[in-house]
Symmetry: C2
Subunit: 658 residues, 2 copies
């Protein structure tokens, strides 16, 4: 089957196989048959050559694109793209025996084609090669984004850059930079320097750094949308400029906990608008993009209710609710932004009857927030451009299957105009619980599959096929310096004080971090400066052994002869507590002891029972006791094989109980 | 024994144990009893709290220094240091049951004390704690440096920052930034923009980035010395400004190979001085340090000899040799630098009779370059300030024992004045063969032991004691994001296409990269863009299993009853080729096949012989054949247990041959 031959992600629109094989040897060269004014293609080509050389071990004679002759890889395109929502990112890619041809309308299309080519690399025992193929590809949505929250935990430039590289490798094209929140204001202001002095703990981006990141992204064909979250989520901002707050003589301070907080800008104070106008005027030129995100979410208006002047203002202006007052605020902001040549974008709370349709709705609330469905379709039908994030909250630590199966449009019936207003979607990486050490493993590899949802045809949705490819894509992301694989062992070495980590690796492969905000449930267990190199931080979603074992168990229940592989894992876990016990104990390991012991105990009993086809009542009771322990949350993780263990227990109880 | 209780590195001048134990719990706080104008201590304290919290898993109530009350850790100092060679970095550290007191003359001394305190962290099964202690510490040398060459392979800002963090953790205080060489000119010039446009492949530091790194280093009490290498090592510079070259109509180009090249600035051309004056005037303010390094090494003067104008100039000015001409050049440069408030520093080729004693000699040539000893002592005796790097060339991939046993002063008898002129020493990380992926494993952990040589009393020199501590220090460097441990597996995953890497890990633990420039011997096998994620790049100096096995073998030869541990390793290696063979082959693995096979074969025969106390002639011959293969270099590595295998073979041949 065609699909099984390639590990492409996102899967292209059309693939045709050809009987050809392009060998990767030292003679490979690239030429660019177009005026590459922005150097996007040249830079992508250099990066391609480095990755190809490192991946294959081939020593290339030419490390840079050649200019005076035709390369064996020939790239051509018509225009240099201005990055906006009208971009053309389509390309064709043809691999022949001795030439590879990439053609595109724009330079950005060309680099998308190069990303596909790199994913085509294959090998046998003697050679690396590209298989003969013809690909015709174009994205389904023009807005394929990743939001990174740098407020809750600051993320240094290099973290952002490597994630931009990863985004480009799966053809994402929007980096939404959530720059401010209660926990920190992360962008320098020369006009309002107290922002960085008092509201950032010294962790912020200078203008030069912002420009550097924007240029880096632009080079990869990625737009950058800044978000300055107002009027709520303003604890940090108001720490620096308390006079703009809605509650007088309130002691504003950078927030260290997680949650929704009261500090809110005063929308009835003209100085608020003066401040935002000056700030936006200063910041806007750093971000060449047309869109500017003003947040606008989760303002519960408590401080507004407590402020008599604000209440009087509402009456005076005929604003019935706090929501109306916020709309008044948004309309003022939109005028400021329009003058700066920007479209106002905000989270879906900004969607009210009086919100002008020139605003852009970023739909984040979905079923779990009490809505029947996201506001995306509604917004588009009402005339707003809209972007979807409901369903793509990767910080909820849900399996990739969950996100992959969310289709932004689903079965909605839309007119052509309405469809055009649905720009696309964004995965959101909120950072209450992630640090530079762990952020990559929270974003990747799941976001690669989400990127496919945003790029590929709607009917590419087979979960098994996606998972097979995702494994390869995940591995190849290491080439970009991503730490999602390697930092597991770093954390486990920390856990064990650099002793044998094999038992913890085994545990980590069947444990996942608590989901849907169950970790740090009330927002106060973890502060922003709490440790995040704990066992939960080493664990990832879609735990690899659990996926395999759960699958094996289903098969076994269907066909009880297929027992060997199940026994293999049970034996592995049965023995694991011995290894765990040989590591010198330290306070960080103690909370894992019960988990390790119960897993070994349950696995041993199940192993014995399945092997001997017998089960005593005593063993059954011990087994059930161990399962109860395993089913509880442990140090912020859950064991994700417990359902399978229950199934096996049931099976043994039914068939083997003496 | 006192020494065995602590993993401090560098070892302090004086330690006294006290019967006390300071528990690390959530109440730990830090206060700073001094005006911390540069925020060095505050920043170090925040970093200390983060590392302590992550290391211990303790959730601290206060994530920042406290100001309105006394902390449980009390830091005081007298003055904010100006970073220069007169700095006082001494401190005292006292750990009591419920308080820790760090006192220093300067803020930099205080942060050195905090670094020591973090290294004191210990634990039992229930708690982390600091043991009762009194330390009185001060460095032996005022100049304790690491040079990083960013020309041969560019190193991004984050690589530099994490290495600065690592330097500070072992109390190094000079970062020598080798910014230019034949392979790239890595610093922006606004006056001469062709430098970055044509001489850097786009890989250079902007002024803002330079300032950022300098500020980052300053915050850690680390001085930054820039090096602009002239008049040789100028291929890149002359690619941008060929008119300054010594050979007319020469086709200058960025060099892709390694070695010593001919392109050299023309010291007889006034425009050369005008250029350097403007460039230095532009660059110097970015580096507040008093010292400015102009390189001056390895100019073989070939292009000078070929240029008649230059030859005429020499005669005209009474300059007999090219060396004299270079001294003329250096004297001109020194005047430029002096006007900028800088001292000229250069590699020891600049040491000639007419070189003014205001210059600073950086001694790099030693025995292996044909000198009987380094020029350090000679320079000091002749009145020059001097810094030593001979003996500390970590790119030569020699065991740490080699560098650790080099004492800068050794047995030299010096006057007080002469001694004062010996400022200290620098480890040098030349980067022909290192990339951002591998540089950390080439610098660390060996440089931590070198840092001890530069800081600790001369009599701290027990190699075994150092190695024991180095292991712990190396592990703790991971907290700073250093990649020297974790990137081994990244490279091995790349080697195997993400299959089982256990057999390669086993091999990597007995293999070391070729030493003393045997890898890439003629400088042309590897170009700067060649792959550096090969097996040799996963291997490190002081291969861990080899160290253990070689030691076990020595002990066995002394006491042949001690055979178990030797057999353990032989069995591991005997079985290893089976595991290796189960990994799907790809072109990158093929060159390792003979090595893996011969190791298994030799180990199996030795295992059988030692266990059965018998050896057949056939087996002996096979064994010897395998050893011959193992003793050859393989894909840029050497197997560093071959001497031990030879010893064991000899033993079996002598005692067990039938």
């Amino acid at each position: 089957m065609l699909q099984e031959n390639y590990d492409l992600m996102p899967w292209p629109k059309e693939i045709t196989e050809k009987p050809a094989k392009f060998l990767v040897n030292s003679d490979v060269t690239i030429s660019i048959n177009a005026e590459d004014k922005k150097h996007r293609v040249r830079n992508a080509a250099v990066s391609f050559l480095r990755r190809l050389s490192n991946r294959t071990g081939v020593f290339l004679k030419e490390g840079f694109p050649v200019f005076n002759k035709e390369g064996s890889i020939i790239i051509s395109f018509d225009n240099v793209a201005q990055l906006n929502v009208n971009n053309n990112e389509s390309y064709t890619l043809e691999v022949n025996d001795s030439s590879i041809i990439i053609k595109a309308k724009t330079d950005v299309g060309a680099i998308r084609g190069l990303a596909t080519l790199l994913q085509l690399t294959k090998n046998d025992t003697t050679d690396y090669y590209f298989p003969g193929i013809y690909i015709d590809d174009t994205p389904r949505f023009v807005w394929r984004g990743l939001m990174i929250d740098v407020s809750r935990h600051f993320q240094p430039i290099n973290v952002l850059k490597r994630n931009l590289d990863a985004m480009a490798s799966v053809k994402m094209n929007v980096f939404h930079w959530h720059l401010t929140d209660d926990q920190g204001f992360r962008i320098e202001s020369k006009i309002y320097p107290k922002l960085q002095e008092y509201a950032s703990d010294g962790q912020y981006y200078t203008h030069e750094q912002i420009k550097d990141v924007v240029a880096y992204a632009n080079n990869l064909g990625i737009r950058v949308i800044p978000e300055i979250d107002v009027p709520g989520h303003a604890s940090a901002l108001l720490t620096a400029y308390p006079e703009l707050g809605s509650k007088k003589s309130f002691s504003y301070a950078i927030e260290r906990n997680a949650g929704v907080f009261d500090p809110t800008l005063d929308p009835t104070n003209e100085k608020t608008y003066e401040f935002l106008k000056n700030l936006f005027t200063e910041i806007a030129p750093l971000f060449p993009d047309d869109y500017f995100h003003i947040g606008g979410d989760e303002n519960e208006g408590k401080h507004w209710n407590e402020n008599e002047t604000i209440q009087a203002f509402k009456i005076e202006h005929g604003l019935e609710t706090n929501h109306d007052l916020q709309t008044y605020f948004n309309i003022r902001l939109e005028k400021i932004l329009n003058k700066l040549g920007k479209k106002l974008m905000g989270w879906d709370e900004i969607l009210t009857p009086s919100t002008p349709t020139t605003s852009v709705i970023h739909s984040w609330r979905g079923e779990h927030e009490g809505l029947e469905q996201s506001t995306l379709i509604e917004a588009a039908q009402k005339g707003y451009q809209a972007v979807l994030s409901a369903g793509y909250y990767i910080d909820r630590m849900l399996p990739i299957e969950h996100h992959y199966t969310v289709d932004p449009i689903a079965d909605a019936v839309l007119s052509k105009e309405e469809r055009k207003r649905i720009l696309g979607a964004e995965a959101t990486m909120w950072s209450e619980l992630v640090t530079p050490t762990t952020i990559d493993s929270r974003i990747w590899p799941r976001t690669a599959a989400i990127a496919e949802r945003f790029w590929s045809p709607k009917d590419i949705k087979d979960v098994g096929f996606m998972k097979k490819r995702l494994k390869k894509v995940s591995f190849n992301l290491e080439e970009l310096g991503l730490t999602h694989i390697k930092n597991r062992d770093v954390i486990l070495r920390n856990m064990t004080n650099n002793q044998d980590i094999s038992s913890l690796i085994t545990l980590s492969k069947i444990c996942e971090p608590l989901k849907v905000y169950e970790r740090n449930k009330d927002g106060i267990e973890y502060k922003s400066y709490s440790p995040f190199v704990l066992f939960a931080d080493a664990c990832v979603v879609d735990a690899e052994d659990a996926e395999i074992f759960n699958d094996l168990t289903s098969k076994f229940i269907d066909q009880p002869k297929k027992v060997f592989d199940v026994l293999y894992y049970l034996k592995l876990w049965a023995n694991n507590h011995n290894t765990f016990s040989m590591v010198d104990k330290n306070p960080k390991l103690n909370p894992l002891k019960d988990l390790s012991k119960s897993l070994s105990s349950a696995s041993q009993i199940l192993f014995n029972s399945l092997e001997s086809q017998a089960l005593s009542t005593t063993d059954l009771n011990n087994l059930k006791n161990s399962l109860v322990i395993l089913e509880q949350p442990h140090v912020d993780i859950e064991v994700v094989i417990t359902k399978s263990l229950r199934l096996l227990t049931k099976y043994c109880e039914t068939n083997y109980l003496k």
